[in-house]
Amino acid sequence: MNDLQFQKELQTNPFKLDEAMLAYLAQNPELKASVQKARAFDQQIEEAFDIEIPEGLEERILMKQSFFVGEEAKSNDESKVDQAVKADLSAALDSASNDQPQMDISSAPASVTKLQPKTLPWWGFGGVAASILVVVFSLNLWQAPNSSPLVKSTDYVAHIMTHVEHDPEHLTAFKEPKSEQDLHKLFLAVGATVQQPLSEMSYAGECVVNGQKGLHLVMQSPTGPVTVIVMPGQQLAAMEAFKTSGYQGELLPVKGGVVAIVAHTMEQVASGHMRFFKAIKFV
């Protein structure tokens, strides 16, 4: 080993001194200063690599993932219902066609066999029609119980903000359901179930937004309250974020309704989103 080789190895990795380098260092102790210098330089670089992380990064990652999981579950359920409906319809049609009258040729003279035309009995038609009606009815019920058209998100935001700002005491008041059963009932009324306790929930109660009954929740966080409003029976085309009057929020389509999450910062919204969807499932 020579000085050039030593320096090259050192500049490749100042913290990895192999046997050859250690032996060379022992013979040339003045090179210890080079080693210290190289390590100090790497320390500087390491500190420079350490950049500031955007606030709420983790929450936003989990928020996006939980939304994806919800959408996936929704489309899986839709496809299961589609398949079930198709199976029902197919079974209904098969059943109707199998109930045709059988041809009886045993009584006819052997020399003559008249073929009778096959006809579907009147109740066969009725049976098929009834099955189709049932299917259509089920589809209709499942898709949109109130048959609500898609709502404009701007209208939604306006209604939500009117509701949130109308009674700001909700943000600091403490009002929880009297029992766990009552809590479950509250959520069932909006088409949801409670999978685990909602952390730091300070308020939960029915509300009316633009004439529609919904659920109003407030969750506390170290940086401020987060409001969640669940509107069953509404439809939204896609998830949207909004910013208005000093608040930020998001509107999320969920199974059977829409969820609005409102707070003063997006980081609070993201944190609220994560906590809410971890605890609540829409059925």
């Binding site: 050039l4 320096q7 090259k8 500049q11 490749t12 990795n13 990895k16 080079s34 210098k37 330089f41 790497d42 500087q44 670089i45 390491e46 500190e47 420079a48 690599f49 350490d50 950049i51 992380i53 955007p54 990064l57 983790e58 936003r60 990652i61 989990l62 996006k64 993932q65 994806f68 999981v69």
Partner: protein
């Protein structure tokens, strides 16, 4: 499903910050870096059943992120400053390195060509060995070592040149 979700949350908690830093030093833009990390974790979630060994989670995530980065941008050939190694070895080692503000050093690191900067991030920030860097970047060990050496040399040269000229913004840009 509960375990899968818990595991995913642990991955996010353990690696999201370092992945962001890595993404930032790859693409050099904070908003793009966050997009890269978001996409990385979404792809990780979709493929999480394929991760058989938790010990390789870190390199698995880095691989996904690098692929996302490649998908986002067309790779172009960075300007390579051809530095004679002997000259640098003699010149830069003896010169005292200026004490720079962190922001100034970050600026120089930004100006390094991608192929020098990336191995340095993996080695210095993630603690990867030369062999591990080679596996991750699909390079031979000798190539990795050369790039690590040249990266440090070039950085030193920029720091010394910058200090002498008194202008830290006038240096030739490398990378994107």
């Amino acid at each position: 499903m509960h375990n899968k979700q818990d595991f995913f949350e642990k991955l996010v908690s353990a690696y999201s910050k370092d992945l962001y830093r890595y993404a930032y030093w790859l693409c050099k833009q904070p908003t793009v870096a966050e997009d890269l990390v978001q996409e990385t974790f979404m792809r990780a979630w979709k493929a999480i059943d394929q991760l058989k060994d938790e010990k390789v989670a870190k390199s698995w995530l880095i691989t996904i992120l690098r692929r996302e980065n490649a998908r986002m941008y067309e790779k172009y050939q960075p300007l390579l400053l051809e530095i004679e190694e002997d000259h640098v070895a003699e010149d830069v080692h003896s010169e005292p390195l200026p004490q720079l503000e962190k922001a100034q050093l970050q600026q120089f690191i930004m100006q390094l060509p991608d192929e020098y900067r990336e191995p340095m991030v993996l080695q210095i920030m993630w603690g990867y060995t030369g062999e591990e860097i080679g596996q991750q970047l699909e390079l031979k060990l000798a190539t990795v070592n050369t790039r690590l050496f040249r990266g440090r040399q070039q950085l030193k040269k920029m720091m010394i040149k910058g200090t002498k000229s008194g202008d830290f913004t006038s240096l030739k840009k490398g990378g994107r």
